[in-house]
């Protein structure tokens, strides 16, 4: 093969690869929906300031690999501006390889349990990131506390769970 042909072949290959990668990139960059993600235990409709309440979501791990889990809870207030240190969040991930028994409390019989530490990265935005051992069935419980002098208002809690491989 002549050098010119070799060079042309290389350019074509590069172009093809680039097109494929851009396509693959855009496909992979677009997050897929977490399988089986739904609320198991929801927050009550009304909360008293100064109390602690729990919410639990479940999801299936789509790959049998260790993953990086990013959990973000964003709290917004309807009428007033939130201040920092008004809420406190802790969490626990319970995991099973086989589906957990339906009528057993999820804190028992788990094959894997990991306490999550949350940091208020922005006002009202709590984040926990870490590597998680890959188990198929996962329950994530968040415990949300507030200060007793929290201004009465309507608060919106948006929980986002992201898994990366």
């Amino acid at each position: 093969m002549h050098r010119r042909q070799l060079f042309t072949f290389a350019l074509v290959l590069l172009l093809a690869l680039t097109i494929c990668q851009v396509s693959a990139w855009s496909t992979h960059r677009k997050p897929k929906h977490l399988p089986g993600f739904h609320l198991v235990k929801k927050l009550p409709k009304t909360m008293v300031a100064g109390s602690t309440y729990e919410m639990t979501v479940r999801f299936r791990n789509p790959k049998r690999e260790t993953f990086r889990m990013d959990v973000t809870l964003e709290v917004t207030e309807e009428q007033f501006d939130m201040g920092s240190d008004e809420f406190f969040v802790t969490g626990t991930l319970y995991a099973w390889e086989t589906p957990p028994p339906k009528h057993r409390h999820h804190t028992r019989h788990q094959e894997y349990c990991d306490d999550l530490t949350f940091e208020e990265v922005n006002v009202g935005v709590f984040n926990s990131t870490g590597l998680v051992r890959g188990k198929t069935h996962n329950h994530l419980t968040l415990r949300i506390s507030s200060v007793p002098n929290l201004i009465p208002d309507t608060y919106t809690f948006t929980l986002t769970v992201t898994l990366q491989y």
Binding site: F7, Q21, H28, L34, A49, P152, T154, L159
Partner: protein, 297 residues
């Protein structure tokens, strides 16, 4: 040269492929809207009306007056709140006026004792000298006894409650302010919980309780008592305990709601300048009461 370029291009393509594969992402999102209600309320009012007491104060030198009766409740289902009452003179002469909250305790037949739960500063049993307060028995001529003091101790390492120490009551007169002081020698009755008194045990809570502490109030023990200036001495000088608990509602039938009733007291010194003052007292939230909570003044 071209071969090197080709290798470089292929290497870059491989890296891009690897990088894109590493970013496989799954995500889930849930949004919930919740109404948050107020835990501690003053006079049953919600925010923003419930946060302060405003009194127009007019007294002569040497007199003691007080404002209207107010009450604090805590709707939190499982946690006591810690608050303080912080006063500011917003108009008029501030010299010669002392402002102190006076708390009302009620002993009602068939109910558990009524308590004022004050927050002690960080104190260990070894340093404790005395606890004192001023009290006035307003009604209850059949039971003319001062409130007694319960002190809960905890192990500083494990946080475990170790024992409850209870004082006796003094005989008092009706309708007269008296200062009651309990020293170590007066705190005789010890109820072990997880052990006996250890010198390094920490104070967990101090409660000022009326009527007989043995159980529910029986006929003949009814009384209404006012308490002010709860003070502790522990190693150094006296420290006024200005933080107190607003208890959560109990579900036990015999335990009262333990609403905190108080008035703001205004004591004019003999050299106080005549004239009207406006005093605002804020209900300041200091935190949630947990076992082992202590206050550093």
């Amino acid at each position: 040269m071209n071969k090197k370029m080709l290798i470089a291009v292929l290497a870059i393509a491989l890296l891009v492929g690897t990088a894109s594969a590493a970013l496989l992402t799954y995500f889930g999102r849930i949004t919930t809207t919740v109404m948050v209600s107020q835990s501690v309320k003053l006079d049953g009012l919600g925010y923003p009306d419930s946060m302060n007491v405003l009194d127009e104060v007019s007294g002569v030198a040497g007199s003691q007056i007080h404002g209207d009766l107010h009450w604090l409740t805590n709707a939190n289902p499982d946690t006591d709140a810690i608050v303080s009452l912080d006063s500011t003179i917003i108009s008029g002469d501030s010299d010669g006026l002392t402002i102190v909250p006076k708390f009302r305790l009620d002993a009602v037949v068939d109910q558990d004792n009524d308590d004022l739960f004050v927050i002690p500063p960080t104190t260990i049993w070894n340093d404790f000298v005395s606890v004192s307060f001023d009290c006035l028995v307003e009604t209850g001529s059949a039971y003319l006894k001062s409130p007694h003091v319960n002190i809960a101790l905890r192990n500083p390492d494990t946080g475990e409650a170790t024992c409850l120490i209870v004082s006796f009551e003094y005989d008092v007169s009706l309708g007269v302010w008296q200062t009651i002081t309990f020293t170590k020698a007066d705190l005789g009755s010890v109820t072990p919980i997880f052990g006996s008194i250890v010198p390094t045990d920490m104070f967990n809570s101090v409660s000022i309780e009326i009527a007989d502490g043995a159980g529910v109030i029986t006929a003949g023990q009814e009384q209404t008592v006012w308490v002010k200036n709860p003070t502790i001495r522990a190693g150094s000088g006296p420290i006024l305990m200005t933080w107190f608990r607003v208890p959560h509602p109990y579900t036990d039938d015999n335990i009262p709601a333990r609403t905190v009733h108080f008035v703001m007291g205004y004591d004019f010194a003999m050299n106080a300048v005549a004239g009207e003052r406006t005093v605002r007292t804020e209900v300041t939230y200091q935190g949630i009461y947990t076992q082992g909570f202590t206050w550093t003044p």
